[in-house]
Amino acid sequence: MKHDIQLIINGDTRTLAVESEQTLLEVLREDLGLTGVKHGCSTGECGACSVLLNGEVVNSCMVLAVEADQADILTVEGLATDEALHPLQKSFIDHHGVQCGYCASGMLISAKALLNRTSRPHEDEIREALVGNLCRCGAYADIIKSIQVASRARR
C-alpha cells in the first residue's frame, strides 16, 4: 500500500508515495538518487547508511520511510554548499580521513551530529560518537584527527 509522505531532504521539501515496507535508505537511494548514503548490512550494524533525522543520527536502513514523514533529513550530499565544502569534508581530505571511502558518508554524518552537540569534542567523545560506524580500512585514527582539526577550525 502506498503512503504519501513529505520529507525535508537537505533543505528541500519533497513529497513522495512510498510502500509500507520501504526503508528510508531505499527511498533515499532509489527514489531520490542520493547514493552517497551507502548500503552496508541492512541490519543497523555498520553505520554506512547514517543520516541525520531531525538532528539525530539514525541508520536509515532501520527506519521505515513512513516513520520519517515530516522529518528533516540531512545526508552527505547536503553537507557542502554550492560555494564550499563543509569544514569536516575539507579536513577529511587534508588528513587522510578516507581510504576506500565506503564508510565516509556515515562517518561525516556522525561527526556532524557530534559537532552540533559539542563544539570542541575530546578524543574520547569522538571515539564514542563513531562507535556505530565501521571502517574496515581501519582509518579511525585519521578520521578522529580530521574531526578534531575541523572542530578547532570552526571556532
Binding site: 551507502k38 581530505i93 571511502g101 569522538i126 556505530g132 580500512c137 581501519g138 585519521d142
Partner: protein, 781 residues
Amino acid sequence: MQQVLIRKPHVIGKPFPLIEAQKKLTGMTCYAGDLETLPGMLHARVLFSTRPRARFQLKNLEDARQIPGVVALITGKDHQARMGYTIKDRELLAVEQVAYAGQPLAIVAAETLAIADAALARIEVHYTDLPAVLDIAQALAPDSPAVHPHYQQYPGNDALNARPEQNIAHALTFTRGDTEQAFAQADVILERTYTAAPLQHAPMETHGGMAQAQPDGSITMWMHIQAPFLQRRIIAEALGMRPEQIRIITGCVGGSFGGKIFVSIEALLAAIALHTNGRSVRLLLTREEEFGSVFMAPAMQARIKMAATQTGRLLGIQATYDWNIGASVDASLFHLQAVTLAGTGPYAFPNAEIHTNAIYTNLLPAAPLRGLGIAQIHWAIEQHIAELAEMLHQNPLTMRQWNLIKGGDQLFPNFTMHANGLETCGLQVLNAIKWKPTRPQQSETPAPPALKSDKKVGRGMALSWSPIILSDQCGSSITLRLDKDNLCDIVIDGVDIGQGLYAFATQLVSFEINIPVEWITVQPTDTAKHPAYWQASYHNLMWSTGHALLKATAQMKQEILRFVGALWNEPITGLDIVDGEVISYASRRKLPLMTLLTEGSGDGTPPPVFEIKAMYRPPNIDGAIDSLLQSFATTAYAAEVEVDETTGGVTILQLAAAVDVGHALNPESVKAQIKGGMIQSVSYTLLEEMVFEDGIPQAVNFCDYPIATTADMPRQLHPIVVEVPQRSGPYGARDLSNHVQAGAAPAIANAIYRAVGVRIRDLPITAQRIYDALQAKKKET
C-alpha cells in the same frame, strides 16, 4: 651552452591527497551499487547451498520459471562449467553434489528483486547429506573422504603439487642445510603448535556488479573488483568464450583486502546475462551472503620446532604450515608461495625445513587476506622466539638481533637479501613505547602500574618480514595519452581500492613529464581499452605499475620533444619540458604544452595527440619459487597491554609499528596505510573468527563477526616510517600495505604473557581464552 634550471620541489615524497577523496566525501563516488542502471535492467538473486557436502536435486524449477516477471533461471545442469585459475576445481553452479555450504546452485534474473526472491523461494532443494571434511585433522585422517574425488578429471589437474586423495591441494617445501643434525647439536629444542582462525575480508561494500550481453555475443560487465584481467580470463574460460569477448569496466571499490581479486559471483552474473535477451542484470550481495558465500581467509595450523644453543644462537627450524583452504585452491597460490618463502621468519637459520600444505575441506573457498598469511606465520614464529629467549634467559631483543637476516645474506639459491631497515624498525618501535627489554632475571624499567590491582601491564615485541613476489603474471600495462580533450589521461591496469594508487600514478606522471598535477586524470580500468595483461593486483602494485609508468613517461617525453624538435628544426637533445612548457636550452624558445595540445602548432594542422602504451614485465623466471622474489618488506611491532585478571579482558594501551617502505612517496598516505593496517591487525588479533557449525557459516553479520570499532582502538598508536631504499624499486620505494599486517598479534601475545604469565597460542586472543589459561595456571600452582 646549457642553462641549468632548478626543477621546483617535486611532488614525489611530498604530501599528496588521495585522488577521489573529494568525490568520496561528497557522496559523488560511484561504487558497484551506485551504477547508473540501464533501461530494462533486471535483478539477479542466487540460490546458495546450505549443506557442506551432499548430493542434491532441485524441484519446482518450472514453477519458479513461470512466475510472472522471471526472465531467466539457470542451474548447473543448464550451464555446466568448471572454473579456476590453474586447477579448475570449482563449478560455476553445482551440478549434482555440493562441496561447501554457500556454493551457488541456481541464479535467477527477474523484473524486480521481490520477484527474483519469490522464484528462489519456490525452488525446493532436496539434499542427501554425505560425510563432510571440515578441519585439517579430519581432512588428513587416512579414512577421510576426498573433497574432490574426481580431481583427475578436472582441467589443470597437473598444474599443482597435489595429492587429492589425501586432500592436499598443493604442497610447497623449502630446505636449507641439515635440520636433523642441527637438532642433534642443540642445547635446547622447543616444539609448539599454533593455530589461527579462519577470517573474513569483510569489506564495507559487498560484492556486486552489472552485466549485459551485447548483440555481437560479447558481455560487458561493470564490476568493481581488484583484478579485472584475471577475472576476465577465468570468466571467459568458464563460459567457453575468448577473453576479448568479456569486457570488464571497473570503478571505485569499497574495500577488498584480497576478497575481490579472484572470481566469486562474477562468473554467475556473466552466465545469467547470456540468457536475458540483451537486458542488463544487476547482482548485489547482501551482507549475509557476503560473509557466508563468497570467500573466507584460510585458517592455519603451524607446528614449529626450533633448535638453539645456550647462548641464544638459532641453529635450525622445522616448520609445517597447514592451511584450511576450503573447497578450492587457486585463490590461495600466492599466499602459499609467500608463506613458504617467509617460513623461517626474518632469522638466518643455517638449517631450515619449511613445509606448506594447502588442505581441501568442505568449507567456503579461501582467498588471501591482506598480508597473504604472513600475519599468521609470524603469530607462530614470533611467540616461539620469545618463549625460546625466555627459556634461555636471553634478552628478547638482543637474541633477535644476533640471529637476524642481514643485507647480503644468500637466503635462497636465486636470492640474496638486500639492505633493509628491520633492525632499525625494531629499535624504533621499542623507543616509541619506551621499553628497553632485558634478560628475564634482570629487572627492567617497570611497566607503568595498572590502575586497579587486578589489572596487569606487560610489553612485547615482534619482528617480521614479508616477501614481495613477482610471478610472471604480475606485470603491468599503461596507456598514457595527452590531447586537447583530457589534457593528460592515464589508463592504468591496477585498481585504486583506497590505498592511493591513483595518487601515486598522478605524482609520478606529473614529476616525470614535468606537468601540473591538475592536468592529469586517472581513468578506471576498462579491459577493452588496455593492452591485455594479467596485471598488477595487490602486493606488488606500486612496483609493477610504477615501472610501467616510468617507461611510459620516458617515451612520452621523447615523443613530445621529437614533435617540437621537428617544429623548431632543433635537435631534441637541447629540448626539455619544465613546468608544462617545452623549452630549448639552445634557442631559448618556449612553447607551453597546453597551447600545443589545445591550439596546435600554429601551422594550421590540428593539435597533436600523443599516446603511449607501455608495459612492464617481470624478469624471466625459471619456475623456482625463490626466483619470484623481488624483495622483502620488513616490519616491527611493539605493544603495551593491560590485562584484567578477573575477566581476561585486554586493553591495548600502546601499539607501535615500523615498516621499512624504502622511500615514502606520499608520506601521509603511507602513515595512513600503516595506521589502518595496525587497526585491522588488532581486529584479527582480538576479535575475529569465522565460525562454522557443521560446515555452515554462522558468523554472517557484524554482530557475530565483530570487526574493530573506535572502541577497540589502542589508546595510542605509533606509526613509524623507516626508509632504506630498495635500489630496484621506483624511486627506491617498496610496496607497503600488505606488509603492515605481520607482527601485531605476536607482539600483543608476548605482552600478555609478560603481564599475566599465560601464553595464548590460538588466534584470536579472546578474553575467554585468557581467562581459561589463567584458571589453568592457578590450578597448576
